[in-house]
Symmetry: C2
Subunit: 640 residues, 2 copies
Amino acid sequence: MQAARSLGVDLDSVCGGRALCGRCQVTVTEGDLSKHGIESRLENLSPRGETELRYAERRNLPENRRLGCQAMLLGDIAIDVPQSSQVHKQVVRKPHEAHDIRINPATHAYFVEVDQPDMHDPSGDLERLKVALRREWDLTDLRMSLPALRDLQSALRKNDWQVTAAVRSDGEIIAVWPGLVTKLYGVAIDVGSTTIAAHLCNLASGEVLTSAGRMNPQIRFGEDLMSRVSYIMMNEGGEVQLTAVVREAINDLIAEVVADAGLGLDEVVEVAAVGNPIMMHLLLGLSPVALGTAPFALASDAAVSRPAADIGLTINSGGYVYALPCIAGHVGADTAGVLLAESPYDRDEISLIVDVGTNAEMLLGNRNRLLAASSPTGPAFEGAQISAGQRAAPGAIERVRIDPDTLEPRYKIIGCDLWSDDPAFPDAIPASGVTGICGSGIIEVIAELFLAGVINADGTIAGEAANRSDRIMADGRTFSYTLTGGDPGISIQQNDVRAIQLAKAALYAGARLLMEKLGVDKVDRIRLAGAFGAHIDVKYAMVLGMIPDCRLDSVSSAGNAAGTGARIALLDIDSRSEIETRARKVEKIETAVEERFQHHFVAAMAIPHASDTFEELARVVALPERTTQTATKGRRRRRQ
Amino acid sequence: MQAARSLGVDLDSVCGGRALCGRCQVTVTEGDLSKHGIESRLENLSPRGETELRYAERRNLPENRRLGCQAMLLGDIAIDVPQSSQVHKQVVRKPHEAHDIRINPATHAYFVEVDQPDMHDPSGDLERLKVALRREWDLTDLRMSLPALRDLQSALRKNDWQVTAAVRSDGEIIAVWPGLVTKLYGVAIDVGSTTIAAHLCNLASGEVLTSAGRMNPQIRFGEDLMSRVSYIMMNEGGEVQLTAVVREAINDLIAEVVADAGLGLDEVVEVAAVGNPIMMHLLLGLSPVALGTAPFALASDAAVSRPAADIGLTINSGGYVYALPCIAGHVGADTAGVLLAESPYDRDEISLIVDVGTNAEMLLGNRNRLLAASSPTGPAFEGAQISAGQRAAPGAIERVRIDPDTLEPRYKIIGCDLWSDDPAFPDAIPASGVTGICGSGIIEVIAELFLAGVINADGTIAGEAANRSDRIMADGRTFSYTLTGGDPGISIQQNDVRAIQLAKAALYAGARLLMEKLGVDKVDRIRLAGAFGAHIDVKYAMVLGMIPDCRLDSVSSAGNAAGTGARIALLDIDSRSEIETRARKVEKIETAVEERFQHHFVAAMAIPHASDTFEELARVVALPERTTQTATKGRRRRRQ
């Protein structure tokens, strides 16, 4: 450990070399390392002594590992510091995610032995703690939060003046525990208008221990954002109510993930939060009313780092909340999280990143320039405003195939791996049966109906198709398609098609507007973030003309990128200044005041919006199995 | 104003040159200023324009004054900036106080016009406020507290995007009000174990607008400090109770002084607080239990500057509390306040500064070296532990003279200017009559009895004196002296003399111990702080041997020096780093572990403690009127 420190090698430790925490484990590479000018010999390391043997027995130290604080160098030797023993280790992310996360949390744990008070040389407990942190860890310019100071006295006296202090990188001592505490935890929160998700992370390893989600209880004040803003405008103190309920829900969620992991709230020292601008305002106790009408002014677009107690969140009493910056009145900290997770600013290719929720937030650009906008898609992609629509949940239809000749459908529901035409399907589905159709299901059924010639390019359900199947039924002056029988069955109404047309036109128009502003007519890659992006089959999105032309293998899901961004900000303090700088540099486009947006929107209503998209799609994509034929047939039929 | 800024001349302004606040008033010195190389001519200043005339009409601008932001320089002229127009003006203190206070508060008010939000260039309200503060006031690196941010949105929209921001010297914007606000206020608080006092100050002028005091409600948990600590040790959550009641009392007091001045709590942005270590711990929500037993460890000896909300004090929601540092486990922020107010570190002479409360905190030294200690005098000087004792309040005997021949007394009570032998006395006193005897009265009656030969040097009430007056009465094996008749009358018991002997011996022993540590056998000046110090007649204190030998004209009252120290810290931010540095440098002497303290204590029990003190006193002091004779007679009689 001494050698690592003098050489500036990154070797972790919490106990400060007392063979207690086991964070400084190293391995030896033996053999002739003549390129480094040494012969590395195992006997040049002292054998395990009593202290190390005791640790090995108690905590299970692998045969090939040594404690860096105990092993003594006796001669030339090559020591390896495994990733897990580095302070700034990397967390390997899932394959579809952009890059690994570097671990460098805002708060570290330091174990110290504090001098006892001396009547002949009176000083405060805090002052003696500072002396110890300086002596053992070379930490200077420290200060202590009042909640931590409140705990300090008893912590010192409870365990013979040995304590673990949690110190933020800015020098604030935020918590102190009696004895040795080797692990600190944080929670990444994604505050959606509909659902709130929380992930409990080990701040030193980056590991996600537990996750949980629940409905945003603000829904009882209004299903969508604007009706919640209206509620606040109409009800004195409404913002206080909405703030209270969202904080309560977050506190419940934090308590849940912490309990699931068998931990205490006291061990959680940090929260990182993302959400849209209105959610962030309400979480911070700021009025979102100005965000409800033009010019959509944020209270502040800056990131907020505050004691959790100031924001009413219950973690360690000295803990902090970091709220990522907002980008513009309609482009929030959730998009900042996406930006951080996807880091398009590190690439040469032009990325289009779309996070589809109630609105679609978009980022377009590369290392040279980045633009952002929010398109008012409405909640149709989430299954709202659709007659049989529902949120993605067990029982919801998520995949649909329609025979182009018979117009007979088959489908899959969430929670069951079988197609509906499988004989085992009726017994395999949940008892509640088929409950509705979710966003990805709607996209597929409309695209399939279009490919089967039932829906015209202008979006009308063609009455002639009634001759082909009695699934097509007149419904006043319009027609509908019956997807499932039963009572009530699930059918696609003309209005459902219109709702999806409006939503997809908004999404496409937003993307076109950004492309126009950036001066490009194609993008190199498209990343679809959020639950919708993870579930949707991009082929169908392209059939409908939701997204601009792009090679199909360059379109992929970014997973829950906003949540990943929150996790990165939680684990790596450097990522905070990174995203704060990047968010400021993003050029904000307000679709509401751009005339060209209306132009693109109108042009994008048709399916497909431009005739060569379809050719392109058919040419580029090797559509698997039946679908290729369907597309061809459908196209042929449509042109008849 | 432009000239002042470019020359670096200190000229105040809140409105930023809009002829609204009137803080930049200047005067002109006319005539031949050839030593400055100019002829100063009034016509070299532009005449009052429309804006200035409107201000003069509305706000009454004296004939010889001009607004620095409006008057234009047309040629050479000598401009004077009166004290009242300087940012860093001096507050002239009372004659007995050490020096004037420099005004340099932590928080200043800045009026600005903020850009309105622009949909084409979205940014937050805070970001536009920062732009305005930079543009108009050259303020950079600003940040805003969450409570202030909560107010910002409505403040901006309420008065046409013109607001006044309160900015701390560290760059934090803590409050914002719609329109122009020219005055900010602060409250200096002195938290005593018995009483709490509050002074409301104008932060820009230093003026004390209103003051108020009330009993410390913690008294119901224990009369003295140690019994309150015992209460906490015996009752789970006791410290939370004691913290809650003291905060509530302070909040009530703040509300009272603010209402008395016709202001709102919103206008108060700062509190500065002093108190003994146990009071400061409880105010800050820290447990004082460790202060109850050796080694008397403070949680921290550092000053605390925190949002008022964190300490449960109700002022402007973004306001701050500054708690002065403690010096040692028995020497608190009140003594730090005394140190700041008296600044003995600026002098060559050796000062002994004594703040007599329940204990006596002492400071001894000069610019080279300063020592501090607390002597366990107990509350006898405050009238407690005295049979007829009471706190200094109307009806309490505060002055006593005893005829050395007849032993007949005469006295004065608080609330009446007449002596008791004045025929008008019975009609002039409060209806409740003579209620008891307070600290200064006890000192005088014992000293007078000693001078009259009734009390011996060892403190016993001499039985022989019973032959001289039937005011001396046997009381079991000891004697008492009847001061007033009536039922119950007020008499001085042997135990009362013993209580004062113990108290004065402790005080004297503490002073001697410090003198020994400093290596001096005399002090150049003695300052008596606190209510007792203000009321006591120092001659009698010297007769009893309470304080070391010193020229009588070098002994004086320092007034409420602790409260003055709080006021200085409130008004001058530089004084905070000053006292923090000074407090750290003070050498702390713990009387409880110093063997020499016991030695001095035993030696100091007698009256007078050393025979030549009395000679010295008789020689140096030109005792006024009868008292001189009394002293001489008393001395003669005592030696008989």
